[in-house]
């Protein structure tokens, strides 16, 4: 089973340190990990550091995989004006590093990724004509089609309506269990984190604030210290944790 361990990981933009000595316990496949923290906490930077797109100190250890590219990354949603259909744009993600000739297996993987996210109906649309939420789902399909062992998603629900937020997170939850993938997802919604994530990593100002089981990490103290809001975690009548935010400090 795939696993990821961060040991004193740092990152720099020029001389400015943007991640300082991040160390986590071993995160194993089959789990969904929520990466939490306020804006500019270093969440995207940590993703880029794990992918090797940013230089820095420390060790990013990935074990239990033979894949050539075990990590797939879905960056934050941006406007795209390329003249490509959704189907092509997902195929493109699949074909990187491969020969020009497309094999039937590649097409099957594209169809499976679109089907998994229920966006087959978008296949023929131009990517430039999509709404922000649709682009986000296509972006998730581009990451999924790479058949990764570790999937990093940077705020994948930021442009989705509530129905699709729950839908996408449920798919991620299921994929983690079925394919024994390790899925790390940057989220702003702590309620979603409580509901869908097994573990949580909390960053603030480029430093690690907490790491562990989500219910143990997301607490009233965390809300106060990291998010500067007064709130509490309650248990609803069905036994699920529920976030109640009262006021900004």
């Amino acid at each position: 089973m795939v696993s990821l361990t961060l040991e004193q990981v740092t990152a720099h933009y020029g001389k400015r340190e943007v991640l300082s000595s991040i160390t986590t316990p071993t995160l194993s496949g089959g789990q969904v990990v929520a990466l939490l923290g306020p804006n500019a906490a270093g969440k995207s930077t940590l993703f880029r550091r794990i992918l090797g797109l940013l230089a820095g100190g420390g060790q990013v250890r990935i074990a239990g995989t033979n894949a050539e590219r075990p990590v797939a990354y879905m960056p934050q949603e941006t406007r795209i004006d390329a003249v490509l259909s959704v189907y092509e744009s997902v195929l493109l993600a699949r074909m990187q590093g491969r020969r020009l000739k497309v094999q039937p297996e590649d097409l099957a993987q594209v169809d499976a990724a679109l089907d998994e996210l229920n966006i087959q109906t978008l296949a023929q649309r131009d990517i430039g004509d999509l709404s922000g939420g649709q682009r986000q789902l296509v972006s998730a399909a581009q990451a999924l089609v790479q058949s990764p062992d570790i999937l990093l998603l940077d705020e994948p629900t930021s442009a989705l309506d509530l129905h699709r937020q729950i839908g996408l997170l449920s798919v991620l939850r299921r994929l983690a269990e079925q394919r024994q993938m390790l899925i790390i997802v940057a989220l702003h919604d702590l309620g979603h984190a409580l509901r869908f994530a097994d573990q949580a990593i909390v960053l603030a100002g480029g430093a690690l604030k907490a790491c562990g089981p989500t219910r143990a990490v997301v607490t009233a103290e965390l809300l106060r210290e990291v998010y500067q809001v007064e709130g509490r975690i309650e248990t609803c009548s069905r036994g699920s944790p529920m976030l109640v935010v009262e006021t900004a400090l």
């Binding site: 960056p75 795209i80 003249v83 490509l84 493109l92 993600a93 020009l100 229920n118 996408l168």
Partner: protein
Amino acid sequence: MNKSTAAMTSPEQGRTFYRTMVLRRQLILLALLGALFLSFCVDLALGPARYELTEVLSALLAPGSVSEQISVIVWQIRMPVALMAIVVGASLSIAGAQMQTILSNPLASPFTLGISAGAGFGAALALAFGVSIVPFAVGYIVPINAFLVAMLTALMIHLLSMRRGVTIETIVLLGIAMVFIFNALMALIQFFASQQALSAVVFWTMGSLTKATWPKVWVSLTVLVIAIPLLARHGWALTAMRLGDAKAESMGVRPRRLRLQVLMLVSLLASVSVAFVGTIGFIGLVGPHIARMLVGEDQRFFLPASALCGALILSVGSVISKMLIPGTVIPIGIITSLVGIPFFLFLVLNQKKSTW
């Protein structure tokens, strides 16, 4: 996700759509190739000296069966010009297509980045003052000067691009700055040049295929034949570049490295072309736009379509340049701009969906 809320589409439909799209694009490429062959034949058949079509065909298929005059005109004058139109058109269009791709800018072309202006300045130095950058380049000082200054421009942009913090926008601005610098230097040369030299400089900057010779065709063709597979090898990565650097990186592409590699390669393509035929504008800008309208931006189709569109535009331009005033070959640069731009505007204004 909950599939009951959206219209169901079977996976087979996705594959069928893809296969139909690929077939349609292959047919478009085939049609472009057919049109290019037709235009090439007409280009060979036309010229100030009027011959019957059968005579031209005989000169092509059995050179011994026609007079030496016809044979020389067809093989030594018309053939290099017709081939040069195709090779230069393809080279400039590919250069423009890849510059637009790697710089995410629809206005990028060998002209925007100052490569053509650099070539013009190098040529003008030779034409006006006989200055040769390479001492032993007697007989070829104009193209060699043009090539060297164009490549120096590309190299300068390349070196500046490697500095930390230089963005795509900065590269485009650097190119525009180069254009202005070379235009000013060109004006200075024209100010001091003799009347005769001034005419030569002005004629060179118009761009003309009549400068074509077999050695020039071979050199240009060799560079094109080497460049195409090198670019095709990066086909998936270059297509990914159109999704933005962040997305391309997420797919394993290294945008910065790829951008610099491709920039140097297409600069070589453009420099060789411009050095031999002068500054032929418009192709590097419009060829890729028409290709994009026809086949989209998947490089497996966009690259050959750009080459074919550029080649076709210049080949048809070559035909028109001979037909407009019988007995006179108007410089091709004038034709491509005068005839091509209205045609391009017509296409752009009538297209159903935006291609940039």
